[in-house]
């Protein structure tokens, strides 16, 4: 066994896992805190990518593109929550799944209608070009930068949720909305904010992933399904679970491609099924959160 190859694939798995973790985090926050599963998460990922692409091609600045992606996704999240999701909190899970599934179709087809189904090129930003030597492994600079940015983002979200007053209100609002509203805090607005934040994370992941994937209306489908795998493995509603689950999923994809390529994609779903059967709450999840 070539150690060098294994090390390279491990690093690759971290890069893949970083994006997955970011997407999964948005999903798990919404699911864990709102009890709501958002099948439109992949569509929002795509919307963010397109928002970023439009602005990036117009301005030539990737950073402004990132801001545009965040804004697109955040606004989209607010609009969806306000107009539609809000009336679904007390409906059965099947309805929630179906409506977000339908929303996903609407969003993706609207994008396809506006931008056509053609794949759009998204150039790697100039500060991302090049290859870095990481302990003897040659790896694209951009992917390493993505790992770094994702890590920073995850840290920021963590601090926001667990170390700030806003985060405290959000967490309390989910645990006990009645008490929180009695304290004079607007629970509805809190829910909307959380949903929009989850959406923003998806949009951010979308714009980061665009130089690596092809920008087309269907780019979010695979990501959505893979992020389901991540939150199942990591545990629904768990912050750490999204990260660990993302890394595990990334490594499964990467190592499987290296050694058993024929089964590389199937293996991810085998892992997901296995966890769901044997330990449905995932590695870090809490049993009983429905």
């Amino acid at each position: 066994m070539d150690l060098h190859l294994i090390a390279a694939q491990l690093l690759n798995g971290v890069a893949l896992g970083a994006i997955l973790a970011l997407v999964a985090l948005g999903l798990t926050i919404v699911f864990g805190l709102l009890g709501f599963v958002n099948f439109a998460h992949g569509a929002i990922f795509t919307a963010g990518a397109y928002g970023g692409w439009v602005i990036y091609t117009k301005t030539g600045s990737f950073v402004i593109g990132i801001v545009a992606a965040l804004a697109t996704a955040f606004v989209l999240g607010i609009v969806i929550e306000r107009l539609l999701i809000r009336s679904y909190y007390n409906r059965p899970p099947e309805d929630q799944i179906l409506v977000t599934f339908g929303l996903a179709i609407v969003i993706v087809e609207a994008i396809r209608g506006i931008f056509t189904g053609q794949t759009q090129t998204f150039e790697t930003p100039s500060w991302g070009n090049g290859v870095l030597n990481v302990a003897g492994i040659f790896y694209p600079q951009y992917r390493l930068e993505v790992i770094a940015v994702v890590a920073v983002t995850l840290l920021a979200i963590y601090l926001l949720i667990y170390k700030t007053k806003i985060g405290l209100i959000v967490r309390a609002g989910i645990d006990d909305p009645l008490v929180v509203s009695l304290l004079g805090i607007n629970v509805k607005r809190t829910f909307m904010f959380v949903f929009a934040m989850g959406a923003a994370l998806a949009g951010l992941a979308g714009v980061f992933d665009s130089p690596l994937l092809a920008v087309n209306p269907d780019m979010g489908t695979d990501v959505l399904v893979q992020s389901f795998v991540v939150i199942v493995i990591g545990g629904v509603g768990s912050f750490g679970g999204a990260i660990v689950g993302g890394l595990i999923a990334g490594e499964i994809i990467s190592l499987a491609t290296a050694f058993i390529p024929d089964y590389s994609q199937a293996l991810l779903y085998v892992a997901m099924a296995f966890v769901l059967i044997v330990r449905p709450q995932g590695l870090f999840g809490v049993v009983g959160r429905s």
Binding site: R86, N129, F138, A214
Partner: protein, 427 residues
């Protein structure tokens, strides 16, 4: 809650209704009538091969326009006659999405609803093989679009289908000796292969002929078709002990895999060989990467320096579309020309009659010189241009990416009939 729900309900249903009403579906009128005939065109307008599909579509459109007007190359081939046997040619274009299922569905509709005389198109071998079977089942002639797998005129050959593009065997047999001469005989190659018929076919043929020249095949890395992120595969490739990277990927996949290969430093370590270069490959990866890359193109506008018909084709195409044609356009155009000529010879547009004439193999002078179809497997006998990517400074025009090193005659590289595995079913 109920109010906002009702409002949402009414607005969304209203929006949907308005959209639907704006496109009230009128009964489908068949375009085939007594003084016209209908051709069904299947082009990949979306999906991985959409750029090639767009070029293909333009080729068809020009061909049918000139066929009806009796001008251009078409006019030369048919002696200025307009239309086909007095009938105007009408057509519709369907998007196959670079997937076989939509291709099959739309092709079937062209046959059953529009009463197509002939249908043509498809850029991926998966689509083409599926459509070949539809042609055979419905007994309607199908001229393939782009398809490079040996199987298309090999184990999947059909009486009612004819294939124009040079197959993997021809490409490899023509390219390998040139590679050995220019790059040396003791090279170590690693392959990136899309996981379907075309990919495996071309990889196997390249392996066969390069190994005959003395090369070693270090590894074949197989990726699903389509794929967008090649990082895991390229990590394997970068760590393979090789000095030559043979990229079999095509279309958008070809472009993204090559760009990512550059990002992974693979192209710094290894010589890139692209045995079959898709139409907009060079535009996608850029001239910097393309420089010094060896490969084949089924046709290039540079061939207008050799073939007068190519010059005429390039001129009318550029006049109509403002850009020069690529090789899928050439396949589209020349195929319609050969078909129309066969109809005149057969004095009939019925598929069975036209097939008989095509099998007679009359060479027709077109953009690659004289070409004709081989009766045994319906593979077109045509030369294979070997190309080398130009340095950016040497380009004369933003689509002038290649120098033509050699044009290998078709007869010398055809796969022997007994090896193709083709048994043509009866008419």
């Amino acid at each position: 809650m109920a109010d906002s729900r009702r409002t949402f309900l009414t607005t969304s249903l209203g929006a949907a209704g308005a959209l639907a009403a704006s496109g009230f579906p009128f009964p489908r009128v068949s375009l085939a009538a007594d003084d016209s005939l209908f051709l069904g065109l299947l082009c990949d307008q979306t999906g991985s091969y959409s750029a090639d599909g767009e070029d293909l579509q333009k080729g068809y459109e020009l061909a049918i326009e000139e066929l009806n007007a009796g001008t251009g190359v078409m006019g030369k081939v048919l002696g200025g006659k307009k239309g086909v046997l007095g009938k105007k040619v009408t057509y519709k274009i369907a998007d196959t999405q670079t997937k076989p299922d939509p291709a099959v569905q739309r092709a079937t509709e062209f046959i059953t609803q529009d009463k197509a005389t002939m249908f043509t198109g498809g850029v991926s071998t998966a689509e083409v093989i599926a459509m070949e079977k539809i042609a055979q089942q419905n007994k309607v002639l199908f001229m393939t679009g782009a398809s490079g797998s040996n199987d298309t005129t090999g184990k999947d050959c059909q009486r009612y289908a004819f294939r124009s593009q040079c197959d993997a065997y021809m490409v490899s047999k023509a390219l390998a000796p040139v590679l050995a001469a220019k790059l040396g005989k003791k090279r170590r190659a690693v392959y990136l292969v899309p996981d379907y018929s075309y990919g495996h076919s071309l990889a196997d043929s390249m392996k066969e002929f390069t190994e005959k020249e003395g090369w070693t095949t270090v590894a074949q890395v197989v990726a699903p078709f389509p794929t967008s992120d090649y990082s895991s595969y390229l990590t394997n490739i970068a760590n393979a002990n090789a000095d030559t990277f043979v990229n079999i990927e095509f279309g958008n996949d070809g472009v993204s895999s090559t760009k990512q290969a550059a990002q992974f430093g693979v192209l710094k370590k290894m010589q890139l060989v692209v045995p079959n270069i898709s139409t907009y490959f060079a535009d996608g990866v850029g001239a910097e990467i393309m420089a010094g890359v060896y490969g084949t193109l089924p046709w290039s506008f540079r061939l207008q320096e050799r073939y007068p018909m190519a010059k005429m084709f390039v001129e009318s195409f550029t006049k109509k579309f403002g850009i020069r044609p690529r090789w899928t356009a050439q396949i589209a155009y020349d195929q319609i020309a050969i078909w129309a000529d066969a109809c005149y010879r057969a004095k009939s547009i019925a598929s069975a009659d036209v097939i008989k004439v095509l099998e007679e193999g009359h060479p027709i002078e077109l953009s690659l010189g004289k070409v004709y179809y081989r009766a045994g497997d319906h593979q077109q006998v045509r030369p294979v241009p070997i190309v080398l990517g130009k340095k950016p400074e040497a380009m004369q025009g933003k689509d002038d990416f290649f120098d033509i090193l050699e044009v290998v005659p078709g007869e010398s590289v055809m796969q022997p009939l007994n090896l193709t595995g083709c048994t043509l079913p009866p008419v």
